[in-house]
């Protein structure tokens, strides 16, 4: 009887159903999706670690990656097992109690990979008994969650044309949604969905048009052919609207806009796509005809709150272009927008949210000085929303750049930049963790950082905000005030997002610093 019972229970253990992904609040000890929930909150309801004991945080264990590429992973934790990706496209399952590997997936990588910014990977998705990883050679791979064995491996695109996958996939219902990178290679961008069980492509949404599509009119001549608009950061999903919200990247070439006059749809957009069909419900373009490489590939944050006199379903978006946007996520209506970091390229946004550009801010051969920098006021790394404080936390970057205009000759598989950039001599760059009031963009507090950060934040019910710096420190701030409560030197530049989970009933916080994954706890 006991054996029989085990036989019934065992196949279910560790199964991550869509129902579980819909309700992470029911199991706060796990971290089941890239952002912790579908709404992009990166918030942990755990509060064993809190403002009164955060100063006692210390490493429980450290996992060292062998790769010297940037370590950008957000771990996923399911029932005592942590799944991380490592550069370039490896996956490791770790025991959360000891940090010891349970299995490893190691992918043999081609020598001629083409990426703009390192052979990185930001994490995996889980659904059913599979773990999904996108690879730098543009495959989507499903691994057995118990063994790491490859269950299926499909080609998403031809990496030799400059397409790659760095994004953590998102599991929605019975599909795995995965974006593409390659915005510096004049690719034709898209967002894909695959059947989670078989790997069969379910839908593809092209982010740049084909000949004859109405959007082609937003590109001069046939410049859409190399329009890029990559989709390299994980989006959000709202089960009530059944829409997937996903940002798109820069138009190609990055800094030479002359060859692609027009708004260049759907570059630098937020797309709202039907999760079942991939059909476009609405879009909002933040930076029409971008000439500064300000991808709108930040993580959208979904909350419900009152704006303009009534409660609405909102989408919050601190954009790389230094404006903070609030949209109605049912229809894409622009509700408000204002700068949250220094910018010199627009005098503001009009009633529709379209930027009112300052003349003379486009790149030139001699160089044009503009804020924000190419890295932007925000970037791929995650913001966090705490329902407890009602604040949106953003790692903001204060930096400008001199932008150059250059030639743009498209050649398959080669970078298609059309210019470049450099720092502004003598200008101090700095950063801050900023707490924004979500519906107004007003800054509730800020904690200044020495250099512009490139690492995301996690807020927790312990009234904490976790983050990390370029100088290798992990830190915890009081979420309500921004006061520093804890810091730890991890010895390497932080390029990742923190998350939190329970192991053996105790709260832990994980974040990658340098080439190591640190897991902290309070003894």
């Amino acid at each position: 009887m006991r054996l029989l019972l085990l036989g019934v229970i065992l196949p279910l253990w560790g199964q991550v159903t869509h129902e579980r992904l819909l309700h992470p609040e029911k199991e706060p000890g796990n971290w089941l999706t890239y952002s912790g929930n579908f709404a992009g909150h990166r918030f942990s309801p755990l509060k064993q670690i809190n403002e009164s004991n955060a100063s006692k945080l210390e490493p429980a264990w450290v996992y060292q990656s062998n790769s010297l590429q940037k370590f950008e992973t957000t771990p996923i934790v399911v029932d005592g097992v942590m799944y991380i990706s490592e550069a370039p496209s490896h996956v490791t399952a770790l025991d959360t109690k000891t940090g010891r590997p349970l299995w490893k997936y190691r992918r043999t990588m081609a020598e001629d990979i083409r990426v703009c910014c390192g052979q990185v990977n930001r994490g995996v998705a889980v659904l059913g008994d599979l773990v999904y990883v996108g690879t730098i050679d543009a495959h989507l791979v499903a691994l057995d969650a118990k063994t790491g064995a490859v269950r299926w491996d499909v080609t998403v695109a031809d990496y030799r044309a400059g397409l790659s996958i760095t994004v953590a996939p998102l599991a929605v219902k019975d599909k795995i949604i995965v974006g593409i990178a390659g915005g510096e290679y004049g690719i034709r961008g898209f967002l894909d969905a695959y059947d989670a069980k078989t790997g069969k492509q379910a839908w593809r949404f092209w982010t740049v048009p084909a000949a004859g599509d109405p959007e082609a009119k937003t590109w001069a001549g046939d410049s859409y052919k190399n329009g890029s608009a990559a989709t390299w950061v994980t989006g959000a999903y709202d089960p009530e609207t059944n829409l997937v919200y996903w940002g798109t990247g820069n138009p190609g070439p990055d800094w030479n806009g002359d060859v692609r006059a027009g708004d260049n749809l759907y570059s630098d957009c937020l797309l709202a796509l039907d999760a079942d069909t991939g059909k476009l419900k609405w879009y909002f373009q933040f930076t029409p005809h971008d000439v500064h490489d300000w991808d709108a590939t930040e993580v959208p944050v979904l909350i419900d709150a009152e704006v303009r006199g009534r409660k609405r379903k909102l989408l919050l978006f601190p954009n790389r272009n230094a404006f903070y946007y609030v949209l109605d996520r049912t229809n894409g209506q622009f509700l408000m927008g204002k700068p949250y970091a220094k910018q010199t390229w627009a005098t503001g946004l009009d009633d529709s949210g379209r930027p009112i550009r300052v003349p003379g801010t486009s790149p030139t051969v001699a160089g044009t000085r503009v804020w924000p920098s190419v890295g932007g006021a925000n970037n791929w790394y995650s913001p966090s929303y705490s329902p407890d404080t009602g604040l949106l936390y953003v790692a903001a970057r204060e930096s400008g750049a001199i932008y150059f205009f250059g030639q743009a000759d498209f050649k398959l598989g080669e970078q298609y930049n059309g210019g470049g950039f450099r720092s502004i001599p003598g200008e101090e760059e700095w950063g801050a963790i900023r707490a924004l009031k979500p519906t107004t963009g007003e800054v509730a507090w800020e904690h200044r950082l020495f250099t512009p950060p490139f690492s995301g934040v996690l807020s927790t019910a312990g009234n904490l905000v976790f983050g990390a710096t370029n100088e290798g420190q992990a830190f915890a701030l009081q979420a309500s005030t921004g006061k520093l409560l804890w810091r730890f030197q991890g010895g390497g530049v932080a390029r990742a997002n923190p998350m939190s989970f329970l192991s053996e009933g105790k709260q832990h916080v994980a974040m990658a610093l340098g080439n190591s994954l640190y897991v902290f706890h309070v003894r």
């Binding site: 970037n379 470049g420 950039f421 250099t451 420190q473």
Partner: protein, 273 residues
Amino acid sequence: MGIGISDIIRAGPFLTKEVDSMMWWAALLLFQPTPVLDLPAKNPYTTAADIAYGKQLFQGRCAGCHGPEGNGGKGANLAVPMLGRAAQDPALYRIIRYGIPDTEMPGSLMDPRELWQTAAFVRSLGALPATPVSGNAANGERVLRGKAGCLQCHALGNDGGRMGPALNGIGARRSAAHLRAKILDPASDVPETFRTVQLTTRDGKVVRGIRLNEDSWSIQVRDAGDRFHSFWKEDLAKIASERRTTMPPYKDRLNEQELDDLVAFLAAERGAR
């Protein structure tokens, strides 16, 4: 795309913020392109029009450090018949594309044709007659070690002090004209990585020195007595940090001949020691 600053931020005296150029160098490095595997042995873009366009590109991107005529500033003098790091065209291409690690020379995202055109302009500089250096280098070394007292603060080989940047190989990095200007007016070029700081602790102690490192919450300095100090910023009442030099101007300390000789010595100091 995801541009980061610095996974390559290094240990050592440059791990600080005003290493903007360093951070940008790293940023550019992150912006890794397709690996350049097969470069032609000879620059394919060397017509007069290529060189003219290369000059335009050079003015925007390179002249800030290398000078409008490429004869050096805070960046190396490129108006020389033989570039030490780039004797062959592919090496020059790669340096313009990727920069030089552990220096302030950043990489660039120019299109391959533009990289070659810039390289063509740089090569054309070497065809110009070199700026003559009139002084006597041997006398210059005596001035450096004697009257000018340079080694009180600067190192040369294993001799000298540590308050200023080491002079080893300075002639390969700075033009004679730049060295002369710097000696006459030290404030004319303070390295971005070099900062003097004055720290006042909460109990009133004052520490002055060269900043070795800094982050959001701590700062490390070396004082004039070569002692290291490290503080949490919360323990400091005041942090005065400036890109300022403690080097005195030599305008009235050296005569014209001594200055010529000193410049001749420094310009010939190519680090072969």
